[in-house]
Point group: C2
Chain length 391, copies 2
C-alpha cells in the first residue's frame, strides 16, 4: 500500500484563509441581507493599471497570430521582465538578471523553495507570521524554532542565541505591518553570516514603503548576497493577486543555490503566463509606475484611517504607515477567533484573527487596507460603535 506524507497530519486542518472564508460564507448564508465588509484576507480590490491592461491586451493579440504567438517561455521567465526588474527594483545593488527567477507568485516560491534544502535543517520562523512558511516546513518535516516578534523588539524578531540554519523574515511584515530598520536588518545578516544560515526574505509588501530610512531590499545590507534569497510579488505592488506573478532573487554568491533553483524550476514549473509577464513588464513603464504608485497610495490612505481609528479605540496599533496592514490588540485581551466572530456578527466586518498567524498573535487581529475608501470608513464607524457604544 502506498504511503502518504504523514507530516500533513501535523498541520492545522484548514489553511487560515480557507477557514475564515468558510465562517464568513456560513454567516452570509444565514443572513443573506447582511452587508459584510471584508477586511480579512489581504486581497486587492482596485482595477489593474491602464498601462498593464493595455500590455495584456497586446499580449493576447500576439497569441492570435502565427508571428506573435508565444508557446513555452523560459522556466525562469522572459529576459524582458528580468531586465526590467533589475533596472528598476535593484538599481545599483549589483543584481544580475540571471539571478532573478519569474514565477506565478511569491506564495508558490516561498513554499517551493524548500525543495532545494535538506529536510535536515533547523528552521527559524517568526511568530506571528504569514502561515505558509510554517505549513510548508511542517509538510517537509523540518525542525522548527519560533522567533518571538513582540512589541519589545518592534515585531522585528529576537536575534536567536542558538544556531538556526534557515530563517524566514518578512518586511514590511505580514501580519503586523511592522517594518525593519537598516540597523536591525544588518544584525540579522551578521547573524546569518556568522552562523552559516540562509535568510529567506519576503519583501512582497515593499511597494508600501514610504519612509526613506527603511530598506526596500535585503541586498541594501552588506553581505546579504552571501546569505539571503529575496521574494517579491506583483500581487500587492500592482494588483496581480488574480493575474499571478512574482519573482525570487537567488544571488550566485550563495553556494550553488542559483543552479539548484534553476534546476528545480526547470523540472517542476513551466514559466509564468506570457500575458501575465507582459502585464508585469508594463508595471515598469513610466505610466505603469505612476498608476501603480497611485493605487498603493490609495491603500495607504485607507491604512492611515484604520490605524487612527485603532489608536483612538486604545488598541495600540502597529503598521499601516509603510504597510497595508494594521495590527491591533483585541479589546480587553479577548480571544482572536471570538473577536472575529463578534465583529462578523455585530459589525458585519471581517478581520483576521491574530492567533491564525502564530501563538504570539493571540489577543491581536489584523485589518487589511485593501478595500474601498468609503467601505473602510463605514467599517471603522461600525467597529467604533461596537466597541465604544456596545452596538
Amino acid at each position: 500500500m502506498y504511503k502518504i506524507n504523514d507530516n500533513f497530519s501535523a498541520l492545522g486542518h484548514r489553511y487560515l484563509f480557507s477557514e475564515i472564508a468558510t465562517r464568513v460564507a456560513a454567516y452570509q448564508t444565514a443572513h443573506p441581507d447582511a452587508d459584510i465588509i471584508r477586511m480579512g484576507i489581504g486581497d486587492v480590490t482596485r482595477p489593474l493599471a491602464p498601462a498593464v491592461i493595455e500590455a495584456m491586451h497586446k499580449a493576447v493579440d500576439d497569441c492570435a497570430t502565427m508571428s506573435g504567438f508565444h508557446g513555452y517561455g523560459p522556466e525562469h521567465g522572459y529576459d524582458f521582465l528580468r531586465c526590467a526588474i533589475v533596472a528598476n527594483d535593484y538599481k545599483g545593488l549589483g543584481i544580475d538578471p540571471s539571478e532573478v527567477f519569474i514565477s506565478d507568485g511569491a506564495k508558490s516560491d516561498t513554499g517551493n523553495i524548500g525543495d532545494i534544502f535538506s529536510t535536515d535543517n533547523i528552521v527559524g520562523i517568526p511568530d506571528p507570521v504569514y502561515p505558509v512558511y510554517m505549513d510548508t516546513n511542517i509538510i517537509a518535516g523540518r525542525r522548527i524554532r519560533m522567533i518571538p516578534c513582540t512589541p519589545d523588539n518592534g515585531f522585528t524578531g529576537e536575534i536567536p542565541d542558538e544556531r538556526l540554519d534557515i530563517i524566514y523574515l518578512c518586511y514590511p511584515n505580514n501580519p503586523t505591518g511592522a517594518t525593519i530598520s537598516r540597523q536591525k536588518l544588518k544584525e540579522w545578516v551578521d547573524y546569518a553570516l556568522e552562523n552559516g544560515s540562509i535568510i529567506l526574505y519576503d519583501a512582497a509588501y515593499e511597494a508600501f514603503i514610504r519612509s526613506e530610512d527603511i530598506p526596500h531590499s535585503i541586498y541594501e545590507i552588506e553581505g546579504a548576497k552571501e546569505c539571503a534569497i529575496e521574494f517579491r510579488s506583483f500581487s500587492k505592488t500592482a494588483g496581480f493577486t488574480g493575474i499571478r506573478c512574482g519573482f525570487t532573487v537567488v544571488p550566485k554568491k550563495l553556494r550553488n543555490l542559483n543552479y539548484l533553483w534553476e534546476r528545480r524550476q526547470s523540472c517542476k514549473f513551466n514559466g509564468a503566463s506570457y500575458v501575465t509577464q507582459k502585464g508585469a513588464e508594463a508595471v515598469y513603464s513610466a505610466a505603469g509606475m505612476k498608476q501603480t504608485r497611485d493605487t498603493v497610495d490609495y491603500y495607504l490612505g485607507n491604512a492611515r484611517i484604520i490605524r487612527e481609528t485603532m489608536s483612538k479605540l486604545g488598541l495600540n496599533p502597529v503598521g499601516g504607515d509603510n504597510s497595508p496592514y494594521v495590527w491591533a490588540e483585541t479589546p480587553g485581551g479577548m480571544d482572536s477567533w471570538d473577536f472575529l466572530d463578534m465583529c462578523l456578527e455585530k459589525a458585519n466586518v471581517v478581520l483576521t484573527p491574530g492567533s491564525g498567524f502564530g501563538s504570539l498573535g493571540s489577543g491581536y487581529f489584523r485589518v487589511s487596507a485593501f478595500g474601498d475608501r468609503s467601505r473602510t470608513l463605514d467599517a471603522m464607524v461600525r467597529m467604533e460603535n461596537m466597541i465604544v457604544k456596545g452596538i
Copy 2:
C-alpha cells in the same frame, strides 16, 4: 551551515530540453544563416483559437473595472472551469467538480504531487518517458524501479512482478506516441488494486485520440477511482503552452488524497491566472471546441506525414496516429545524441534524442508534429536526403 538537498546531485546536470536548446543555440550562433527547423521540444506553434482570444480579452477588460475585477481566486480553480471540465471531459464518468483541481499546468502538478506522498515509497517509472517523473522523484529521494516499455509490449509497459507503490503512466505517450488499449489499462488498474498502488496517469495528449477504442481517461476503467489520479493539460489541447493551464483529478475515493492535495495547493499555490482560466473555459464553448479540434487535426496531419516518411526510411515508427509524436529508430542503431547532432548539422533539423527519455530510448529519436505544415514537409525532405542520399 544550512544543508542543501543532496538528492539534486543525482540528477543529470541539465533538464533535457534545456540541454537541447543550448546545443541548438550554439549551432545557430556559429551558423547564423542556417534555416533550422525545430521538431525537438513538443511546443505548439498555431495561434490560440479565436474563441479563447475573445474570452481572454474580455477577462482582461474585467480586470480594468471595479465591478469586474478578480483578485485571489480559489486555489483549486474557479467553479466555472471545474464544472465545464466535468461536463465535457468526464461526462458520464461520475467525477464531481470538487475532484478537479485547476493549476498552471500538468508539469507543475505531476512534479508537485509528490508532496502528498511519503518519500518512503517505491516508484515505478516507465522507460522511456517524459523526464519530469524521474527527476522529481530523484529530488525527493524515492527508490525508483524502471518499467520497460519496448516494442514487445507495444510501449505500454511490462506489468511488474514485484509490488510498486506509485506508478506513472502516460498515454498517449510522451515520447513514444503509443496509446494504450482498454484491456491493457485494465491490467494496470487491476495490478494497482491488488497491490495497493496508486497510478499517476498523465493524459496531457488526450485530445489527439481519434480511434474509438482508445480510452480518453483512466476513469473509463472500472476501479480506477480507487487507485488513480489523472493529469490533463490545455497546453496541447488548446495551445496553452505559454498561457499555462492544466488540471488534476483526485477522486474522493482515494483515501484522503483529495483533502491532502487541496491542503497542499492551498498552502503552496494561489490559483491559475483569472485570464488564463477564462480562456480555458472558452475551449469548451461550441466555437472553442471546433476551433481547437481543427488545430489538433492540423497537427495530426503533420504527424501522419512524419510517420509515413519514417516508415519509408525503414525506421519503424510508432505513434503519430493518435498522438503528436512519432518515435523512430536511428539509422543503423546510431547513438541518439550523435543522431541529434547529425540532423542539426546536416539537415538543420532539431529532433529529441530518445536516450534523453531513459536508457531504453537509446537508438531512438522523437519527432514533434507541432510545427508548420510546409516546414514539416521540408524537414522530411531534408531527412530523406540526409539518410537515403547521404546529403
